[in-house]
């Protein structure tokens, strides 16, 4: 039996698989952006060869949904709204992106006004029916819409439907009776929470993605059917769900790529005994940073994609424009900047020799000697160090700096941008980064990690095995997980424990029902209860995990205390005589996955380290430096910086003052030595 994980990236599709004997294999194929499923299907066949029929489950992380939104390649969707609110997708929240800009443009909506139709109905704030649904008029209007616009999916978002979904359901029933094959997405099922623009934007995005995501997943499922394998898809919340029926929930796949890396890190950290960690995933264009406390990454209730809000539970990952391809440039005022523009894969940094002339972070690393041109990507690509120097030279000329000095400056600014991302998820949320281990992965994370750690006062870094395939590894260990939410809007003091318990029991019943379809028995599901709470009158909620036993025992007093404590950490003191309010009940349902696969990552040899000595530049001086091939390092091998540890998908830099040791699971553990 084989379990295989596939992560589709912009340039490569990464595969990692394990079988029941514990053997682990990895594979990499070029991505096929015109039809990403081709690389997925071919990759599986190439990776497992004639053992294809042994494949039992396939876990997939894909950017297909994200890219469809960014590139506006979703379907021709239509939208039904409450009468009087047809233009809401254009009005949005009335904000200007930059208050001093001359040109002011709002993000383009996913549904054109031609395909937005008003429904005569109205529900009030308490869920009361103010105006009955005019079903006859609706029928005519929908038939008209279908004839004129031929939409491929329909989103329905009626006011206050989070309180009373009756009208949305009636609209859906009507459409289904007329056009049984047309996907219909209701806001009351996608996102049953208040704030109409955000809910509408999310619902529209779900409809916009439905046919495309559905077709995509079906193509892969069909290809897997000879093996009888089941397909699971990564969600932005950090769990996987069976692909069957996911088509209409394509929004839950948005931003799932970075989530998989975070899940892998939290799984490795659990094995290594790190409870508090910060993940740092740096690739070519950007750095993704996430804070994990007590083994669980933070999840926030909404995110944004291409300026459009999406109200989906998303792992709280900060993204900053700092990667290997980030370009150094000088702005109008003469200030040196790095990123957010990236040289990408084409033309790539100047040292790729593909015609790039602007200096990227990778060029600076080559100039400093931290990346050796002949061993880059395991020697699959030879870099041109002269091109790197030339590009840096032209930048340095403007600033009156030498190539070496400008290279150091570019790296320092890129590092500071990474550190800012770390501060965003730690300091700004009330956590001290010094008390956390930094888990670095992606092609460039292990290179920058120690520099950022110096900046942040972090003393422990972990570079897990296969750092360049780490997101794929995350898919192998992710739980089956889904988040259920229900708007409450109840003042805590007026809310009995029974009311809270009944709400969660309702959500649990829905979860049990759905998980049954996944083949998961009720007793195998773990539940977490979370309350989204605020002081009465506040506009933003804090997520409070609650213990069902304590809810039953002490009720409101316990809830208020738990909220005040969490609020104090993130926001600070506030006058508390306004009362506390439960805005949303949130239930997390999961079937845990075994992470046994991790123990097979240990290096199984005690060979001789393959090392070469060289010289590199660091903070203005030349240093002796050892270069090692990571796959030749035996367990417990240890070395003090300066050292560079190279492997096929990534490079780890160990600066002076740091010691690297090969630890459990084959992870490289870097520790800050006493003042070097």
């Amino acid at each position: 039996m084989i379990k295989i994980a596939i992560e589709t990236g912009g340039t490569f599709t990464d595969l990692i698989w394990s079988d029941s004997s514990g053997a682990i294999g990895t594979h990499k194929v070029p991505s096929t952006p015109d039809d990403p499923s081709r690389a997925v299907i071919n990759g599986i066949h190439e990776a497992v060869g004639d053992r294809f029929t042994e494949v039992q489950s396939v876990l997939h992380g894909s950017t297909v949904a994200t890219n469809a939104v960014i590139e506006r390649r979703g379907c021709r969707a239509a939208l039904l709204v409450t009468q009087g609110f047809r233009d809401l997708l254009l009005i949005q929240r009335q904000l200007r992106p930059n208050v001093y800009a001359i040109e002011c443009k709002k993000p383009d909506p996913l549904v054109a006004l031609e395909r937005i139709v008003e429904v005569r109905e109205r529900i009030g704030a308490e869920g009361d029916i103010v105006t009955d649904l005019d079903i006859d008029q609706l029928k005519t209007d929908i038939q008209d819409l279908m004839t004129k616009e031929k939409p491929e999916a329909i989103a329905v978002c009626l006011l206050h439907s989070y309180r009373n979904a009756a009208h949305e359901i009636a609209v859906s029933d009507l459409i289904k009776s007329l056009y049984p094959d047309l996907p219909v997405v209701l806001s009351s099922s996608v996102l049953p929470t208040f704030r109409e623009y955000e809910r509408m934007s999310t619902t529209v995005m779900a409809a916009y993605l439905a046919p495309l995501v559905g077709r995509y997943l079906q193509t892969i499922e069909r290809a897997l059917s000879p093996a009888g394998a089941r397909l699971f898809v990564m969600q932005s919340s950090g769990g996987v769900l069976p692909a069957a029926g996911l088509g209409e929930r394509g929004v839950e796949m948005l931003n799932s790529g970075p989530a998989a890396g975070v899940i892998a890190a939290s799984s490795v950290a659990h094995r290594l005994g790190d409870e508090k960690l910060i993940t740092l995933d740096i690739g070519g264009t950007s750095a993704d940073v996430c804070l994990i406390t007590n083994g669980a990454p933070g999840v926030r209730a909404e995110t944004e994609i291409d300026g459009l809000p999406v109200g989906m539970p998303t792992i709280d990952i900060a993204n900053v424009g700092a990667g290997g391809g980030s370009i150094g440039w000088i702005d109008n005022g003469g200030m040196l900047q790095v990123g957010p523009q990236s040289a990408g894969a084409q033309p790539g940094p100047a040292c790729y020799g593909r015609g790039g002339t602007q200096p990227a972070v990778t060029d600076a690393l080559v100039a400093m000697g931290w990346i050796r041109p002949e061993t880059f990507l395991g020697g699959r690509m030879t870099l041109q160090s002269q091109a790197a120097s030339d590009a840096l030279h032209s930048l340095g000329d403007v600033l009156g700096l030498s190539v070496n000095d400008v290279a150091e400056a570019v790296i320092a600014i890129a590092t500071a941008n990474v550190s800012r991302g770390v501060r965003l998820v730690s300091v700004q949320r009330g956590h001290d980064p010094k008390q956390h281990a930094l888990y670095a992965f992606g092609g460039m994370g292990p290179m920058i990690a120690a520099l950022a750690a110096e900046d942040l006062g972090i003393k422990r870094i972990v570079v897990p095995p296969h750092p360049g395939l780490f997101s794929a590894l995350g898919l192998l260990v992710a739980d089956i997980k889904r988040v259920y939410r229900e708007t409450a809007l109840r003042v805590v003091d007026d809310t009995s424990a029974d009311f809270v318990i009944a709400a969660f029991q309702r959500l649990q019943a829905a979860a049990i029902d759905e998980f049954k379809d996944y083949g998961v028995a009720a007793e195998d599901i773990q539940f977490e209860w979370i309350l989204e709470m605020r002081y009465v009158g506040q506009g933003f909620e804090t997520q409070i995990p609650v213990d069902p036993q304590q809810v039953k025992a002490t009720g409101a007093a316990y809830l208020t205390a738990a909220f005040q404590q969490a609020h104090e950490v993130t926001v600070g003191q506030t006058p508390s005589n306004n009362g506390t309010e439960i805005v949303t009940f949130q239930l997390v349902a999961r079937q845990p996955t075994s992470n046994d696969v991790l123990k097979h990552l240990e290096p199984d040899h005690d060979g001789v380290p393959d090392g070469h000595s060289g010289r590199i530049r660091y903070r203005g001086d030349m240093h002796d430096c050892m270069f090692y091939r990571r796959d030749t390092l035996p367990k417990a091998f240890s070395i003090s910086g300066c050292a560079v540890i190279e492997e096929a998908t990534s490079t780890t830099f160990v600066p002076p003052g740091w010691r690297a040791t090969v630890g459990d699971l084959g992870a490289l553990e870097l520790a800050k030595e006493s003042q070097a």
Binding site: I91, Q94, N98, F194, Y197, N332, G333, P575
Partner: protein, 555 residues
């Protein structure tokens, strides 16, 4: 500059993050809809001498006035004797502040027991007492506009909570939970700024941070001077008008002369209307802030960090005392944003002849302050929202539909949030106001139509607005946008409301707010016919407007 370029970049980005994080903290911890949903607030970080080092991107009219309030505190108090735990507070328009609803709090920041900087925040408070639950259009003077907090030095622990300052404010406003909650949110934002700044001092050293703080101002100054040099020397004049003062129909002139002299600018408002009764006078701080804001758009367009350095090449802003742009005490100023917008408009118009691609046509360019109050059996509920309109068009871009005017950037309040918080209202329509945009090669933005159904008796409607009489103008052949109008439908009758008014609403009334569209830019006949056809088909423009786009060969 002795700082190396990497350190300069790192510290200046760090300082900007401090101000931005303060702003997010303020919004996230605020209690009133006006701050938490509409983001009517601002944060700023100042050096020890009151120079603005960094500010968050919120409302321009706030951001440019932190320095002026600071100077007033500096005149009154020996700020070098401030101790940790103290702070400064005021809302007085005659002491450098804006209007009474905008309360500013400055917190001193200490490092190694020495005062090194100030973190500051401004919140627009939902109510500050006064003659109406919202703008009091009939106010004869500032005392009728609400509680006036003089520039005060206070001790947070002693004077908040059960202390004198909090209790005094609490007893004098209609919605004390929101107001006091928002003041605490401001203090939390300031505290966050202080903590982050001290972290930076520890990391980079005091000298480096203070030097970078000064260098950012020099950097903005350098860019600004360069931009001014692009504009030919000369004296450029223009005018625009505020509709009226709320009492009679006389338009109030804003007359500006902008002098470009090498890399410096002078702005002169001689010839502007005299101060007047009502609430439309504009305190000097607001007028100057509007000048700074307008020039930040024309010269920087969002690419120059807006701090004290950007203001330095503005050699002089001459506003005659006794004009409505620099009134004497104790005149009312609540609706000063009307005049502020005309300051922007007049400057744009003056410079349009020499910098046609750096200016905008007039948009709705008004703060449409829509307030309602209702005294329920349990408590007073005060609703306040800034309703957007059409944005001006420019040399390469249509005006955006439905955004706040220049001086603010308030978001709308979600209908589902509003209807929960204010059970005396229901929104029946929230739509683009079709046909309201001025035609042009680039059209103005569309205004909005927002219809409120009133569900209780004795709801007071309190508002100020403008552009009811003098519509948003176009440039270079573009036509004007439609003016704004407010109506009440009662028992089948239409009651037309003036732009600045207090009016008692009854159950069953429909209050209709229609805001102005922006003026067009350039000859309508040059507009891409594809856009014309589509917008006509969708009803966004009228048939008459579509006809303006026709050329002889294109009918």
């Amino acid at each position: 500059m002795t700082l190396d370029s990497a350190t300069f970049n790192i510290i200046s980005n760090g300082l900007h993050s401090v101000a931005q994080e303060m702003g997010e903290m303020l919004v996230r911890s605020a209690h009133s809809t006006i701050i938490r949903e509409a983001r009517d607030c601002s944060t700023s970080f100042l050096d020890r001498a009151g120079g603005i080092v960094a500010q968050a991107q919120f409302c321009p009219i706030h951001m440019n006035s932190f320095g002026m309030v600071f100077q007033e505190f500096n005149r009154r108090y020996d700020l070098s004797t401030l101790r940790p735990g103290e702070a400064l507070i005021t809302n007085d328009p005659y002491s450098g502040a804006q209007h009474l609803n905008d309360i500013l709090i400055f917190s001193p920041v200490f490092f190694k027991d020495r005062l090194v900087a100030f973190s500051a925040s401004l919140g627009h408070h939902i109510d500050v007492g006064g003659g109406a639950a919202g703008p009091n259009a009939g106010a004869a003077d500032i005392f009728a506009e609400g509680l006036r907090i003089p520039p005060l030095r206070f001790d947070v622990e002693r004077d908040f909570g059960s202390g004198m300052l909090e209790q005094f404010i609490r007893f004098n406003v209609r919605a004390p939970e929101q107001v006091i909650g928002d003041l605490y949110a401001q203090l939390a934002a300031n505290r966050t700024g202080a903590v982050r700044f001290v972290e930076m001092l520890e990391r980079f050293g005091e000298d480096a941070v203070l030097e970078a703080g000064a260098a950012i101002q020099d950097y903005s100054e350098r860019l600004t001077r360069e931009a001014i040099r692009q504009i030919p020397d000369g004296r450029y004049e223009a005018e625009d008008f505020v509709d009226d003062n709320g009492f009679d129909q006389t338009p109030l002139r804003v007359k500006v002369a902008v002098t470009i002299d090498g890399d410096e600018i002078e702005v002169d408002f001689h010839g502007s209307a005299d101060q007047t009764k009502g609430i439309i006078n504009c305190p000097l701080a607001s007028t100057v802030a509007a000048v700074y804001g307008a020039l930040a758009v024309v010269l920087g367009g969002g690419d120059i960090p807006v701090n004290t350095g950007l203001y330095r090449p503005i050699r002089k802003v001459d506003v005659p005392f006794g004009s409505f742009l620099n009134p004497s005490k104790p005149l009312g100023v609540r609706a000063r944003n009307n005049a502020c917008h005309r300051v922007y408009n007049a400057i744009m118009r003056a410079l349009s002849v020499v910098a046609p691609d750096r200016v905008l046509t007039s948009g709705h360019d008004t703060t449409n302050a829509i307030g309602m109050g209702h005294l329920g059996s349990d408590r007073y509920r005060v609703y306040m929202e800034v309703v957007g309109g059409g944005w001006g068009a420019s040399a390469g871009c249509d005006g955006a539909d439905v955004v706040d005017g220049y001086v603010g950037n308030c978001s709308n309040v979600p209908v589902e949030s509003l209807e929960q918080d204010y059970p005396f209202l229901r929104i029946e329509e929230y739509s683009l106001r079709r046909g309201s945009a001025g035609a042009g090669q680039y059209r103005g933005g569309l205004g909005v139509r927002r219809v409120y159904k009133v569900l209780s008796d004795d709801v007071s409607f309190n508002c100020y607005s403008d552009r009811f009489q003098i519509p948003p103008w176009g440039l270079f052949g573009g036509s004007a946008g439609a003016p704004s109008r407010f109506l009440v439908e009662r028992d089948g009758q239409e009651i037309t409301l003036p732009s600045k008014t207090n009016f008692s609403l009854k159950q069953g009334d429909r209050l209709i707010i229609e805001t102005a569209g922006g003026g067009g830019y350039g000859d309508p006949r040059k507009r891409d016919p594809k856009h014309v056809a589509r917008e006509l088909q969708l009803g966004l423009i009228t048939t008459e407007q579509a006809l303006q786009h026709q050329t002889a060969g294109n009918t």
